[in-house]
């Protein structure tokens, strides 16, 4: 299976006082494994809403994902989406929610978010909670989704204490293990960040190993329970019946309440003896190191308001990638940053992607960023995807009139013209969008059919699709 994510016929709408905003109108696209897919469009075209629909962060009221399928592997993340709420379209649209179902689906999605699908957002300065330290917020995601691995590392560390001590004194990694601890040590030696960092990591490993041995039964039980939970989660994402899923969700939700994040955050601030928290701290340190933050150990204890925008964005990237998610959605990650920092962040994303193999959806309105970073591009207009192609193909061979208009409106240094070519007209009102093709009022090539019928998506060459009546009949196979 080559696809990380397949979105089919996604429809998201907002029910407000003035009417129904049809923000996303039957959107479909595919994200292939290991690629960077860019979604580009003007403000208000629905790209952010698409991202939020995939992670189900749409505020409900007033928004709702009305229909669609999001396939991650074999699982449709939006199963029974239509049962969640009944929409009564009277003069003022009313929604009746089925809260039990919504809550169950929330439990399900909380297992997906942060672990399989992560997001980073536009405003790094506002993205982190100002009253908690950086360490707390990075560790939070690890403690939610990565307990098993952390417990295994600690257990292994507790069994190899003398080796770890020796490595600490030597200042380098000299032993390799076959288990998770070995992986970690491998990562550390490959990262090669210097003796001080290595010493720190080993210190924490040793300490957590010691604490593990002190209350061996307690942590062994914890590990066992954590592994059982993992099994259940995996089953949840496989092919199961409705009842099985309900059962699993019930058990998992009970378990998740036992992880008391508030207590943990308090313990993290003081000198904690809990090996899991220590390991979470160590991995947070590793993550901060891997996003190239200067003085990572000091930054752990810092508060968000003490950091600059670029550093905060790195922190959010670290948080998003903490659990090696399959999919990362980046919503205008560089729009709020200076151009130099922008380049660094994009480079960072590309490098990390190579290391971890995450598939990335990059949302932006900046065609330059797309050109630099993306393998494939989807162009959105007024809630529809109008064209999809590889980056090269799109820039050299744009088909859809809107894409052509966009590309033409970029001022070019190598071809200075006197007048800037703008696309005439304005972005349409999504409560009462234009009939037929939503772009037709602004399209220089529009004809009668465009006003009446919504264009289908046609594949004009391999991997290049367009939604425009001009290409009807010109499809490949």
């Amino acid at each position: 299976m080559d696809e990380a994510l397949v979105v089919k016929n996604l429809k998201t709408q907002f029910f407000i006082y003035d009417g129904v905003v049809k923000a996303i109108d039957d959107v479909s696209f595919t994200l292939r494994k290991g690629e960077v897919l860019g979604i580009v469009g003007e403000t208000g075209c629905g790209k952010s809403v698409t991202a939020y629909s995939i992670t189900r962060l749409i505020p409900d009221p007033p928004g709702r994902i009305v229909d669609g399928q999001i396939m991650m592997g074999n699982v449709n993340l939006l199963r029974n989406i239509r049962d969640e709420a009944k929409i009564i379209l009277t003069k003022r649209p009313k929604i009746k929610h089925n809260y039990r179902l919504i809550r169950k689906n929330e439990y399900f999605y909380n297992k997906i978010r942060g672990k399989y699908i992560s997001m980073i957002f536009q405003e790094p300065m506002a993205a982190l909670n100002p009253v908690y330290t950086v360490e707390d917020q990075v560790a939070e995601t690890l403690l939610l989704h990565n307990r098993t691995r952390m417990l295994k590392i600690i257990k292994s560390a507790s069994e190899h204490l003398p080796d770890l001590e020796r490595m600490k004194n030597e200042g380098k990694i000299s032993v390799g293990y076959q288990d998770e601890l070995g992986e970690e040590l491998d990562k550390l030696s490959k990262a090669n960040r210097g003796k001080e960092s290595l010493t720190r990591h080993l210190n924490i490993l040793i300490e957590s190993g010691r604490h593990f041995s002190r209350s061996k039964e307690k942590y062994e039980r914890m590990l066992k329970r954590s592994m059982e939970n993992d099994e259940l989660e995996d089953k949840l994402l496989g092919n199961t019946t409705e009842e099985e899923q309900e059962e699993i969700i019930k058990i998992l939700s009970k378990e998740s309440k036992k992880i008391n994040l508030v207590k943990m955050s308090r313990q993290l601030k003081r000198r904690t003896r809990d090996p899991i928290l220590l390991e979470a701290r160590r991995e947070s340190l590793y993550l901060l190191e891997s996003v190239d933050i200067p003085n990572p150990y000091g930054i752990l204890k810092a508060y968000p308001h003490e950091l600059s925008g670029g550093m905060l964005q790195r922190v959010t990237i670290a948080i998003a990638l903490a659990n090696n998610p399959r999919i990362l959605i980046a919503d205008e990650p560089t729009t709020a940053l200076d151009v130099t920092v922008q380049a660094q962040i994009l480079q960072l994303l590309r490098n990390l992607q190579k290391d971890i193999g995450t598939s990335i959806i990059l949302i932006t309105h900046d065609l330059g960023v797309i050109a630099e970073t993306c393998n494939r591009v989807a162009v959105m207009y007024a809630g529809n995807i109008v064209e999809t192609a590889t980056t090269d193909e799109l820039y050299h061979n744009p088909k859809h009139p809107y894409t052509i208009g966009l590309l033409q409106s970029i001022p070019r240094v190598d071809n200075p013209t006197k007048n800037l070519k703008a696309i005439k007209g304005n972005v349409p009102n999504l409560i009462n969008p234009p009939t037929g093709c939503r772009f037709h009022p602004r399209c220089p090539f529009a004809f009668d059919k465009c006003k009446v019928e919504k264009p289908e998506t046609i594949e004009v060459s391999e991997g290049h699709t367009v939604a425009c009546h001009l290409f009807h009949g010109k499809e490949v196979n």
Partner: protein, 364 residues
């Protein structure tokens, strides 16, 4: 900055406010000289005596000098004298009376504050989380009615409808039945609390003056419980009429925080909704609530004054009431000053707690 530096700065900022208050009380107390002199006269009211008192109060000196003497008196506890109660009694110094009256008021105020926090904070969180659903609407109605009821009326209603002569069925008569009387009905010789209230007769010394603490100190648990029960109803009255402020503000504060970006980040990490609210939203929302605490304490203490009067609770509010009727100005000034100090200190404590919650505050 460091925490203790912040605390010291906050305390320093208090000083202008306290000075301002003393100026205000000074002008008030010297606005009506007849009353002022009356407050310092004892039983003897010959013209010679009056002249002595006038000199003692430095009334012949310029205003600013009077102010300094006033400050001196204020901070040394020389607050004047109450009218003598018995024929050959010299009037009790106001400061002594204050010592006697302060603990009951503090007990009442503290229990009322505790009730408000226990009632108001969870309600504020709930009504924000379940916005526009039944809990929210009901809470808002309750809060609104609570803050619209005249405090004294609520107290009277409680005494009438839950008291011994109530027109309602007797099961509802929670007060004044059997062994546990409400404070209003303190009839000498009939209650468990008698030895405590009538210390002249029983000879019990009250180490702290706080009824609840003293009963525990002596190990008299039944008296402790009786005292708690007696204290509960006036405290509830005060709490019901002032909790709305906290609840409403917490609700709007939480709604504002829930729309913030960092809450969205937390959700995108897969944090369960329960912890989104109780970890990420709550601390930020509570922090903002501290801005309304000043007004809350003012409302609370005003309510305490009236409630003490209605329920007959022997604290500073009741003292203020009888002083107001009797034209006893020195007592009024003393109570005004103390109430203000209470609010100022309470605000300080709230600010310090806030600086624990929100590290950004310490930057100022």
């Amino acid at each position: 900055m460091k925490l203790y530096v912040y605390i010291i700065r906050r305390i320093l900022l208090l000083i202008p406010v306290i000075i301002g208050v003393t100026v205000l009380t000074f002008f008030l107390s010297h606005a009506n000289l007849t009353l002022l002199i009356d407050g310092y006269l004892g039983r003897i009211r010959t013209p010679a005596h009056i002249a002595i008192v006038k000199a003692e109060l430095h009334l012949n000196m310029p205003v600013y000098a009077q102010y300094f003497y006033y400050l001196g008196n204020l901070f040394t506890g020389n607050w004047g004298y109450l009218a003598p109660t018995e024929l050959f009694d010299a009037g009790t110094p106001v400061f002594v009376e204050f010592e006697r009256r302060f603990p009951p008021t503090m007990e009442l105020a503290l229990l009322a504050t505790a009730l408000v926090l226990v009632m108001g904070l969870p309600l504020g969180v709930f009504s924000a989380v379940k916005k526009d659903r039944l809990t929210d609407q009901a809470t808002r109605v309750l809060a609104m009615v609570g803050v619209s009821i005249p405090v004294f009326w609520l107290g009277i209603l409680i005494l009438i409808y839950f008291g011994p002569n109530s027109v309602l069925p007797f099961q509802l008569r929670l007060l004044g039945s059997g062994q546990i009387p409400p404070s209003y009905y303190y009839v000498p010789g009939t209650s468990i609390l008698e030895p405590w209230v009538n210390t002249k007769v029983s000879g019990l010394t009250q180490p702290t003056g706080f009824l609840l603490i003293d009963t525990l100190y002596y190990g008299d648990v039944s008296a402790f419980l009786a005292g708690l029960y007696t204290l509960f109803w006036p405290a509830l009255t005060v709490a019901l009429t002032s909790f709305a402020l906290v609840t409403r503000f917490l609700r709007s504060s939480m709604l504002e925080v829930m729309g913030q970006d960092y809450v969205r980040t937390a959700r995108s990490k897969g944090v369960p909704e329960h912890f989104v609210i109780h970890k990420h939203v709550r601390r930020n929302a509570l922090g903002a609530t501290t801005t309304v605490m000043g007004l809350f304490f003012a409302t609370l203490l005003s309510g305490v004054v009236v409630t003490e009067t209605v329920f007959g609770w022997p604290g500073m509010g009741r003292w203020l009431f009888s002083a107001a009727i009797g034209g006893d100005m020195v007592s009024i000034m003393a109570t005004t000053f103390i109430f203000t100090i209470i609010i100022v200190v309470a605000n300080l404590i709230v600010d310090i707690i806030y600086s624990f919650l929100d590290p950004r505050v310490r930057l100022e």
